[in-house]
Amino acid sequence: MTLMHDVAPAPAPTTQTMTMAAALNRALADAIETDPDVLVFGEDVGALGGVFRITDGLTERYGEERCFDTPLAESGIVGTAVGMAMNGLRPVIEMQFDAFALPAFEQVVSHVAKMGNRTRGAMRLPIVIRIPTGGGIGGVEHHCDSSEAYYAHTPGLTVVCPSTPQDAYSLLRAAIASPDPVIFLEPKKLYWSKGEVDTSVVAEIGSARIVREGSDVTLISYGSSVATCLEAAEIAAVEGRSVQVVDVRSLSPIDDATITAAVRATGRAVVVAEAPGYASVASEIQSRVFERCFEYLEAPVRKVTGFDTPFASPKFEHWYLPDADRVLDAIDSLHWLDENAGEA
């Protein structure tokens, strides 16, 4: 089995430092240029270039035929994307904020996720639904939710979330090339983070990435929380602990092999994500690690997540969001003394 799809080479491959926003924009442009079936649409994605400017310049460069504004109706956007995909196109659509993807939830669950199965593969839906996700930007209510659990729980959907500009580029190209529908989650907080992007790198959907090597404990994370984990790992290093960081990248399907091998090697793990923790992707990862690494664990797997409360108002956000401190506290709780006791 492979989830590697034929991604057409970027028209003029480059390696450049750019923001995640720019990387996404570039991925869209390269997809439009290399595949006549790719269409970009949504609310404000045309002249405005999207409220986060991810589609900046696309209409200008490629015309309304390839990138256009729709009426303000998310179910309409997803539902018409379904119809277009049924008729051979590859719609790449933008939901303006996570909570504003919810009016389309029926279309996503009842059709996007199921049409391929319903038709025994006769009608696959190569749709990419781009959803800005998460907080950390001081947004008012409904602008900062993390809704990956809703999608990851739904059979038939692929769900990915990049944490670097490189992955943003490569995963978006792979998502657009995928014959299956992909929920593409873009951490808002990372839009303006920078990194090197080589547009000739092709990503494989379904593979995690070891972001930092370490031997004492494994932090498992995705999206904006990867940076939180790296920050915690730095601090822990000063305190003498070697912390490994895994970026899951693909929330569904998930790369059990990489995650399991990582935790078996360290014997300790903390899952970190911003979404409320209850019945979440973090819970899933936690329970998978528990089950697959049971014999190797020195301590229970912990998770550090958003609280099970509605996302906080801007002034409360710093209390709500998992930060390096909270991750370090979780690491501290991993029975280090017991082990030493055992070793002594």
């Binding site: 009426p71 539902g79 277009m84 008729n87 279309q107 025994r120 006769a122 009608m123 379904g206 569904s252």
Partner: protein, 380 residues
């Protein structure tokens, strides 16, 4: 073009009233089989009416056969279009070969009229799989269950066709109840804003399961919704296949000619319960149902054709025989048990199986192997 439009109605920016439907539904043949001239719509020719009649006879026979198969336990459920066959047949006949139909669970007869084999059309209702035909083969989308959702698919489908410069017309069906859903609104609006070749065809059969039309809308008619999107709306007698062919045909012509979408409301009646699982005595009077038998779409067209010497007893017998052959084939197909492969559960979820799905299949496979290939017979 098959259908000519005596007086083409074109949306005019200066007079929005042309978008409003008539006060009375368009009717070309009355319930006694008498044709009446109409200033706006011409009576379809004898050939087309003949094909329509065959469709009606076959459609009625399929509805009856499916009901029998439900009683025999061969179909899990059947939402019958008994009484609505004129709508079913017209929806199919007005479309050209390359056009697409987006039907609902109630539109099996229309699906079959487009060429899908009755057995394949019934796979969903038999319970073997969620859909039984390749949509591309006869250009028929899978029958939709979540109400009004398919209207958006139809709109997107049409948009893709236009994107490629094809002149495909898409006809999307839904019921009166479905017009209350948000997706109905969004589909009408997207189609109008993008001026797409879609014909929205509402079969107003007076009920959404038990809920009467008066609880769905306070509007003068459902077709009055069209002006709110800037598209023409029209009402038509849903038991008069001639009027349906004329009104839907005009809408298809306009769509193909670049004139944008149309909303057509057919006034018809659901003669049977919602499905076999429903008990319609709870919410409507027998007398109300009886009153509609006089308006039956078959007898009305038969009356006209006979009066016009376009149909005699021999032809009628031939048609009945043809319908009987179809019914027999359907019976045979449904009496045979499909050979089902449990791995199908995992085969189509994604284009390539994820490790998780593969693991789950292996788990099921091992389970089945342990218990001897048949699960039911499993003994620990």
């Amino acid at each position: 073009m098959l259908f000519t439009t005596p007086t083409a109605r074109v949306a005019s920016a200066t007079d929005p009233h042309v978008l409003l439907p008539r006060d009375e539904p368009v009717r070309l043949i009355d319930q006694d089989g008498v044709a009446h001239a109409d200033e706006g719509y011409a009576l379809p020719g004898a050939d087309l009416l003949g094909r329509a009649y065959r469709g009606l006879v076959e459609g009625r026979r399929i509805n009856d056969q499916a009901n029998a198969l439900v009683r025999q336990g061969r179909l899990a459920v059947y939402p019958s279009s008994h009484g609505q066959e004129a709508c079913q047949v017209a929806a199919s006949l007005v479309l050209g070969e390359h056009d697409w139909l987006f039907p609902t669970y109630r539109d099996s007869v229309a699906v079959i009229a487009r060429g899908v084999s009755p057995a394949d059309a019934m796979v969903l209702l038999k319970g073997d799989w969620h859909s039984g035909y390749d949509p591309h083969e006869h250009r028929v989308a899978p029958q939709a269950t979540p109400l009004a959702t398919q209207l958006l698919h139809a709109v997107g489908f049409a948009q893709a066709a236009r994107h490629r410069g094809e002149d495909t017309v898409v006809l999307a069906m839904c019921g009166d109840g479905s017009t209350s859903e948000g997706d109905f609104h969004e589909a009408m609006n997207f189609a109008a804003v993008f001026h797409l070749p879609v014909v929205f065809f509402v079969q107003n059969n007076e009920f959404a399961i038990s809920v009467p039309l008066s609880r769905q809308t306070a509007a003068p008619s459902l077709a009055h919704k069209a002006i709110g999107y800037g598209m023409p709306g029209q009402r038509v007698d849903g038991n008069d296949v001639a009027a349906l062919l004329a009104v839907l045909g005009e809408a298809v012509d306009r769509a193909r000619a670049g004139g944008g979408p149309t909303l057509v409301e057919a006034h018809t009646y659901r003669m049977q319960a919602h499905t076999n699982a429903d008990d319609d005595t709870r919410y409507r009077q027998r007398a109300e149902v009886q009153a509609w038998t006089a308006k039956d779409p078959l007898s009305r067209l038969r009356g006209y054709l006979v009066a016009q010497d376009l149909l005699d007893e021999e032809a009628e017998a031939r048609l009945a025989e043809g319908a009987e052959t179809i019914a027999a084939a359907l019976r045979d197909a449904l009496n045979a048990d499909a050979d089902l492969d449990p791995e199908d559960l995992f085969r189509f979820v994604r284009s390539s199986r994820s490790p998780q799905l593969q693991e789950q299949w292996h788990q099921l496979r091992d389970e089945l192997e342990r218990s001897g290939s048949d699960h039911e017979g499993a003994a620990r």
